[in-house]
Every structure is written in structure tokens, then in C-alpha cells.
Symmetry: C2
Subunit: 343 residues, 2 copies
DNA sequence: ATCACACATGGGAGCGCTCCCAACCCGGTT
DNA sequence: AACCGGGTTGGGAGCGCTCCCATGTGTGAT
């Protein structure tokens, strides 16, 4: 440790470092912040003083003087936390954090549960208490992105609200992933491939449905509305939708579910209807959530590069913060099919 | 919103509020911070000015002047994140965040993966860039708590390193929970109850083993070493341990696993050995993780009041910060048995 | 009416830093 | 020899707040 054994309270200041190095405050500041306009001799001397004193810049003072906070917020609408379930959120978090590790940005976590907390966040943004915002899992009608834009606060979304999203975002290739899944089913000789969609007011659900249709057409099948049932990304919804499909199209031999959770519900419904998975009906999910591996048989599913998404989000946001003029990138990361027993 | 529509950059300051209210800076400060030494008339006037201008205190300035940061850090050792899996972490997070919601403390998230990040955290603490630290899932040999103590940084642990933990902590009743599980098995007439422990260098694993033994004795059984196999809280470890048990004690008719993950592994081993759950062998886990509900049959398990733990941790930490002299509480929250199909 | 005292209030000093301008130094020009 | 320009350096000003002391202001006791 070494660097840190100073008595609490007696933390050295810029001034003291300057005195010890026999230079002025400005020079120390320049060294600390890596300005090139410092001679090597001076720089060395300053750095030695810094080490000797165990100097660590006072962030509050810096923030006050420079008007920046060196912090970004990761905003998570609460309902989503529950829904998107575990691995997703913590994966993103891991990615973000790892990308931030060698910046000295700090990560501020904000769960937004209700209107009150929403207001607090708005105030937070207005007060510019962070340099940027990462927004996880936005809803199509979420006012937050607009708020951020209005306040000219650098922001990056995880996912997008629509095909015409203006705020920079990092998304995974939902339609591509769905297509992968359905193509796989078709390639395995499945003839009647149904789908259980998410709530279609969410763009991600639209994309997955679109991918399903594309792949169907590409494989020479004809998409039929009877084969499309609507779920809401929940287990119960998947169960209901599966029963609906079974009633409408008893001959189906494959189902692509737009989420693993719905696949779990569907699986239960199939069991109740005495259909074997995968012999009678092949099943594919989406998300590669923890439960996929636990299902019986283990669920074939589509995996998103979650951690990579987190990393990318952080990277894009840092760029935005560094130069406000930077282009506002829209990144779509590829998904992959994870083959397990259910298809 | 109202409160916040000020042009970015033109954020009003204390000074401006003071001018508008026709009072001095000190008075405004007093009102903002709820000092009682202000007349009602003045207070009202100030508050009106605050609202009219949409004033929000500048945190950096406040931190600089007052020497406090109004932020606490939630520190998560990375390996644990993966291990302790999803619902645990996000549950704690939810609890902490909800408790913080009407404070205006902000929550800083710090994943600590490697030595470098560990050092950075040490520096962080030394620099007093937070007012307190919440430490999730400490290891018995974790140096962090000692570091925090040395720097006189208020801290609360989630779990404890040993029975003689000195740092304030919030834990769940692990031995009690284990005892609950085992008592349930005994009450259902199981005769030969085995256990798969966690790594015994973790206090939590010791507690669960102890609870197992206590309950066994209480039910009139005699604990036998042949019925104890050691896992490492992973699925694979659970699998291995179950095979070991099956070899050593083929007649066993129940297993208490110190984690759901290990129970999943054990369940697979039982399937391979053609033992039916729960008919041949009853299975109980610990954690009530997401997968418990997904298992076949659904896993009977012990639930910890995770969110409540998070809330309590935050509350205790805030107390510590408010008055450093406060007693250093050790809180143990009760666990409960969740009965599902596996036992 | 006078004094003492409590309470309310204004505003200077200073927290530790960045920004920026003026001063300085040096070698090369004219 | 006087001058110039670039690179380096010192330090004043100020970021927005809290702390605290000095200054009012009004009340009740004398």
C-alpha cells in the first residue's frame, strides 16, 4: 500500500506537494493532469514529492474548480431489474465496471422505482452531478432519454426505444438472434414453427418477431398469424400463450420464445399437454438466462454478449463526455445460438 | 418537473437565492440544512426563492467545504458476484437503494476484481471519498475490513468473517436456517440425512453445517461424518459431493445442501444414480435462488431476507456515519423454509 | 429608561483545486 | 547588443459551499 499510510485527516494537499517539490501549485496541477508543458526534471521532482507524501487529489475540490464530477450514473428502472432478471443486469454491470476500472470515473448506481425517485433523478441530471448517464433497458415511452437530451447530458441507452432512436445506444442484434434460432429449427426439419412474442410495444419484442418472420421466409416457410401468440416476457404469459398456440395449431412441432422465462412457461404447458420436448415440439428461448441450463431438457437459446454490451456502453459514454461533438454511435452487437437439448 | 427547468450551465447558486430572498448566504445555508435557528418568516421566503429559481445545492462545493461526501460505496468482490449469483446481489442492492432513497446519499458501486482494483479501493478509502462502505460477502481472510477499521471508515459487512467479527455486520441466521431444513426432513420421517457443505473456510458454510448437526441431535439422530461431504458452493462441486455420499452411504434418504447451486449438482447426480426425488431421496437447498423454482421437482430451500438485509445494512451504516460513537451493531436476521416439491 | 441576554442574521475566511495570465528563461535573430 | 518567440513556471482569482464570529434586534428583568 505505502501510498496510503497517512493519518486520516492529515491528507496532503496540492500546496504541500508544491512546497516539497519546490515548485508552484500550477506546476503540480499540470503534472497531475498530464499536461505536456512541463520539463522532465520538474515532472520527476513533483512525482517524487507526490509519492513521498502519498498525495491523492481531492475530488470534491477538483470537481468544484473544474465543473466536472468524474462520475457517471447507471440508471436502472426498477421493474426492469426484476424482469430482465439477474444475469443480465449483473453482466452489464460487470462490463461497465471493467471498462471504468482504469479511468478514474466512479460509477453511481441509481435504481428508479417510482415517480419520486424519477424526479430525484431529473434533479440530479439538472444539477449535473454526473458527467453522463447509462440507461439500462428503456421502455418505448420512457421520458428519461428525452430529459437527458434536453439537458444536454451525455447518455447511452442499453437497447433502444424504436428503430429511429436518436440517443446513442448499444443493443444486441435481436432480429438476427431470433433468425438464428428459427433457422436452426427449420434446418432440423421442423415444419410448423410457432413463436411466442414479447409485449409488442417493446421494440425488442418487435425485432425478435421480425427475425422470426425473416428466417421463416428465408427457409421457404410462409409466416402465419395462427402461429404467433403474444406473451409479456413472463413465465405465466408464456404458459398462457403456449396453450393458445396448442389450441390454434395442434400440429406445431417447434416454438421460438422471445425470452427464456416465457420458454419456461411454455415448457410447463407442453408438459401438461403431454408433448415431449424436443421430440414432439422443439423449444428455443432467448437470453441464455440462468434458468436455461436448469430446465429439463436444458434450453437451447440465444445469447447476447451482455458483458460486452456493458463495456461498449461505458466506452461510448466516455467518448461522448470527452468530446461532446463526437458522433452519436448506434452499436448493435451480434448474438449467438447456444445449442442445448430442447431443440 | 418544474423545479428543474433552468438552462444548463446557468445553475443558480446559494448567493443568488440569498439575493432573491433578500437575506444573506448564511441564512440560506441554514434553511437548506434544516437548522432551527431561523425565523419562520425568513424560512418561508428562502424556500420560495429556492423553488422559484430551481436551486439545487452543488454537491462538490458542499463536500469541499464540509469535508463530507454524502456518498457511500457498495463494494463487491468480483469472484463473489459470480458465485453468490444473481438474486442475492440484486436483492441486497435493492434493499440498500430503497433505504437510501430518501436520504440524499448517493450509492457508489465498486466491483473489486484484482489486486489493482483492491489498491484503488484502498486509496479511495484513504482519500475519504466516501462517508462509509458496505462490504458484500466477505471472505474469512479478507483484509478489506481491517483496512476500513484502520482508516476509521464507517463500514458494515454483509455476513461476517468469523464468530468473533468486530466490524458491524448484518447476517442471516445460517445455522438456524440449516436447522429448519434438517428438522423438516427429520419430521417427514427421513432416517439418514446427509449434508453437502460449502467450503469450510467460509464462516457461512461452518454455520450451516453446525445448524445441520444441531437439528440432527435435536431430532434424536446421531451426526456421522460419513454423511458429511464437502462442496464449494458450485454446481459441479455439489455433483461430486453427491456421488461421494452415494458411494459412502448408499442408504441415505435425504440431503441438505448448503446452497441451491450445489443442490442442482446433487440433483443431477441423483438422476444419474437413478434415485427419485423426493421419493428415494429428499433434497433441500439454501438461498432460494432463481433456479430453485425451475428445478424438477422444484427445490425446497431456505430463504434469506435478502432485501431486508440490504436495508438493514444501509440503516446501520447511516447510523455509524451520523454518530461515530454509536454502538457497532451485529444484526442476525431470521431465515425461513420454503417448501416445494423436493422434500 | 437601562441593561443583559437570547436569538436571528450577514458575510468573511477558507475548503483544495483548475484556469489563465503574466513573468521568466533561454537560445537564436537582426 | 538589443530583440524576439517559444517553452516553462508562479500564483491570483474564483468555483459554491459551510463554518463561525460579529453584528443586529427584540424581549424581559432591573
Amino acid at each position: 500500500m505505502g501510498v496510503v499510510d497517512r493519518h486520516p485527516g492529515g491528507r496532503p494537499t496540492l500546496e504541500q506537494v508544491a512546497r516539497r517539490a519546490g515548485v508552484g501549485r500550477g506546476t503540480v496541477s499540470r503534472v497531475i493532469n498530464g499536461s505536456p508543458r512541463v520539463s522532465d526534471r520538474t515532472r520527476t521532482a513533483v512525482l517524487r514529492a507526490v509519492t513521498e507524501l502519498g498525495y491523492v487529489p481531492n475530488r470534491a475540490a477538483r470537481a468544484l474548480a473544474a465543473g466536472s464530477t468524474d462520475a457517471i450514473a447507471l440508471v436502472v428502472p426498477e421493474p426492469e431489474t426484476r424482469l430482465f432478471a439477474e444475469p443480465y443486469f449483473s453482466g452489464v454491470l460487470r462490463g461497465v465496471s471493467s471498462e471504468l476500472a482504469d479511468t478514474d470515473m466512479q460509477l453511481l448506481l441509481t435504481l428508479v422505482r417510482d415517480q419520486r425517485e424519477r424526479d430525484r433523478l431529473a434533479q440530479f441530471v439538472a444539477a449535473r452531478r454526473v458527467d453522463g448517464v447509462l440507461l439500462v433497458s428503456v421502455h418505448h415511452d420512457d421520458p428519461l432519454p428525452d430529459l437527458l437530451e434536453r439537458y444536454d447530458m451525455p447518455a447511452v441507452l442499453n437497447g433502444r426505444r424504436s428503430g429511429a432512436e436518436s440517443v446513442p445506444y448499444v443493443d444486441s442484434d435481436n432480429s438476427g438472434g431470433a433468425a438464428l434460432a428459427v433457422a436452426h429449427l427449420a434446418a432440423r426439419g421442423r415444419r410448423t414453427i410457432a413463436t411466442i412474442t414479447g409485449p409488442l410495444d417493446m421494440y425488442v419484442a418487435q425485432c425478435r418477431l421480425e427475425g422470426y418472420r425473416d428466417a421463416l421466409r428465408a427457409a421457404g416457410h410462409r409466416p402465419a398469424d395462427t402461429l404467433v401468440a403474444h406473451g409479456d416476457f413472463t413465465e405465466r404469459g408464456g404458459h398462457r400463450a403456449m396453450r393458445e398456440l396448442l389450441a390454434r395449431a395442434p400440429a406445431l412441432d417447434a416454438v421460438f420464445c422471445a425470452s427464456d422465462l416465457m420458454a419456461a412457461g411454455a415448457r410447463a404447458a407442453l408438459r401438461e399437454a403431454d408433448r415431449k420436448v424436443p421430440d414432439d415440439v422443439a423449444l428455443v428461448g432467448f437470453d441464455d438466462s440462468a434458468m436455461a441450463r436448469q430446465m429439463d431438457p436444458p434450453l437451447t437459446t440465444v445469447r447476447q454478449p451482455i458483458e460486452e454490451m456493458g463495456r461498449t456502453m461505458a466506452r461510448v459514454l466516455l467518448d461522448q463526455i470527452r468530446e461532446r461533438s463526437a458522433e452519436r454511435p448506434h452499436v448493435v452487437l451480434p448474438t449467438e445460438l447456444v445449442r442445448r437439448g430442447s431443440a
